[in-house]
Amino acid sequence: MEKRFIYADNAATTAVSEEVLNAMLPHFRTAYGNASSIYKLGRDAQKDVEEAREKVAKALGAEPREIFFTSCGSEADNWAIKGTAELMEKRGKKHIITSVFEHHAVLHTCEYLEKHGFEITYIPVNDKGLIDPEDVRKAIREDTALVTIMYANNEIGTIQPISEIAAICNEKKVLFHTDAVQAVGHVEIDVHAQGIDMLSLSGHKIHAQKGIGVLYIRKGITLPNLIHGGGQERTKRAGTENVPAIVGLGVAIENASKNIAEKAAVITPRRNRLIDGLLKLPYTRLNGDRDKRLPGNLNISFEGIEGESLLLMLDLNGICASSGSACTSGSLDPSHVLLSIGLKHEIAHGSLRLSIEEDVTDEDIDYILEVVPQVVAKLRSMSPVWEKMMKGEKYE
C-alpha cells in the first residue's frame, strides 16, 4: 500500500481551519486596533471581540458576560481552581475534590494547593475510566470549596457523567468546575441546563490557534482577578486582548459546536472499525469504556512492546499518534491515566492513542489497519518481553 500521511492526534492539537484563518487574517494588518482604543479601528476590534464572546457563549449555553478569554486551557484551569480556593478559604473551606486521572493542569494545581494547606480528595475511576457520581457525593464535606472533574479524559476519551456530578454539587451547594478541553465540539454542552459553575476550554483543540482559551464563570461567582492591570475582561484578566486569536476562536467554536451529532455519525463507525481491527491482534486491549467515549478517540495497549518505539515506527509510515508510555511522558512512570484504570506498568508502556476527525477517510482507516499490525509484529519480533510471554515465562 502506498505511503500516506495521516494526522491521528487531534487530541494533542488540530490544524487551524481555513475559515478560522481567514477570519483572523485582517486582524494582523488592517483591523489591528487595540480593543480599548476610542477611535473606529479600536471600536471595531472591540466589536469583533464581543461577537466572538457571543459565539462562545452560544456554543456553551452561557451568557456573553460569563465568558472570559485566557491564553490557554491550563490558564483557565489554574484560574478556576486557585481562584475558587482563594475565594472559599476566607469562608473556612479548604477542601477540594478532583479525580485521579485529571489533566496535569488540574492535578498539579491541586498539588500546589495541597502544599498551601488545602486538603484534596482524589476520586478513583473504575476500570472503564468512568467516575461514579455517588463517589463525589460521599466525598463532599462541610468545608468542600470546589469539585473539579474533567468532562472527557484526554487520553482514553471517556466521557464523565458531568450532569449528574453537577446536580450533586448544586444540591450540596458546592461549586463545580469542569475541564472540558477535550469535550468541547465533540459532545453537546449546555452549562446552564447542566448546572456547571465553571468550565475551561482551549482553542487549539477545535481548529483555532494555540494560545487562546476560555474560562466560563457562572454569573454570581466573583473569582479573584487573575491578572491585575487594565480593564480588559471586565478587569478580571487584564492584558491587551489577543484579537486575532479571539476572533478565530469565535469562528472555531461556532463551527465545532454545530453538527456535533452528524460529525459523530461519520467518525464513530470509522473509529469502531479501527478498534475492532486492532483488537484482532493477540494480547491487545481497549482502554476506556467503548461507548461512553469521544467519537474519535481510541486507546489500545499492545502487550510486549513499548509505546515510543511504536510512535516512531508509525511516524516512519506517515501516521501521527500518541502514547502513554513513560518514554513519551518524560518520566519513568507511564501515564497516570492508564495506571488509574488498573493497567500494569508494562502494559501501559505499550499504549497507542489515536484521535481522528472526519478528514480521516475510510481508505486512511484501511491504511492504519494495515500498518499498525505490521509495526506491532516487527516490534514484538525484537522484544525479549514478547519472547517470554510466548514461552509462558514471567517477565515482570
Binding site: 510486549g304 512492546i305 513499548e306 515510543e308 518505539s309 516512531l312 515506527m313 516512519l316 508510555s325 513513560a326 518514554c327 513519551t328 518524560g330 519513568l332 507511564p334 500494569k344 506498568h345 508494562e346 508502556h349 519480533s381 525484537m382 522484544s383 525479549p384 518481553v385 514478547w386 519472547e387 517477565y395 515482570e396
Partner: protein, 138 residues
C-alpha cells in the same frame, strides 16, 4: 524529543537484531516495569566476539543503543568489549537526549552481562574480571 539522524537510522534499521542459537554468552538487563529490557547474545571464539545479536523492549533510544553496542563489539576481543563505555555508544550515535542517557548505560551493561554469562559458562568466576553489573539509576 530530538533524536540524531544516526539514532533514527539505528532505530529504523537496527543492526544485529535476533538471537544466536547456542550462544556462548547471554545477558539481560532492565525490567518491563520501567519500560526497557535488553537481551544480548554473543558468539565467542578464542577470546574474540565473532557475532553479537540483541532483542530489546524499549524506546527508540533503547533500540538504537543496543544496535550500536552490538556493532561496536563485533569482531573485538573480550578485553576491548569490556572497555566499551556508555559514552562511546552515545558518541557513536552522535549524541542522545539527556533523558535517554540511561539507555546507553543499559547497552553497556547488557554487553557486560553477556560476557559475565560467558565466563560463568566457562566455569570462571566473572566477578573479579567484570565486576558488578550495574543498573542505571531509577
Amino acid at each position: 524529543m530530538m533524536y540524531s539522524e544516526k539514532v533514527l537510522d539505528h532505530f529504523s534499521n537496527p543492526r544485529n537484531v535476533g538471537e544466536i542459537e547456542n550462544a556462548d554468552g547471554v545477558g539481560e538487563i532492565g525490567n518491563a516495569k520501567c519500560g526497557d529490557i535488553m537481551k544480548m547474545y554473543l558468539k565467542i571464539d578464542n577470546g574474540i566476539i565473532t557475532d553479537a545479536k540483541f532483542k530489546t523492549f524499549g524506546c527508540g533510544a533503547a533500540v538504537a543503543t543496543s544496535s550500536m553496542a552490538t556493532e561496536l563489539i563485533k569482531g573485538k576481543s573480550i578485553d576491548d568489549a569490556l572497555k566499551l563505555t556508555n559514552d562511546a555508544v552515545v558518541e557513536a550515535l552522535d549524541g542522545l537526549p539527556a533523558v535517554k542517557i540511561h539507555c546507553s548505560v543499559l547497552a553497556e551493561q547488557a554487553v557486560r552481562s553477556a560476557l559475565s554469562d560467558y565466563y560463568t559458562k566457562q566455569g570462571i568466576d566473572p566477578l573479579p574480571i567484570i565486576g558488578e553489573i550495574k543498573m542505571p539509576e531509577e
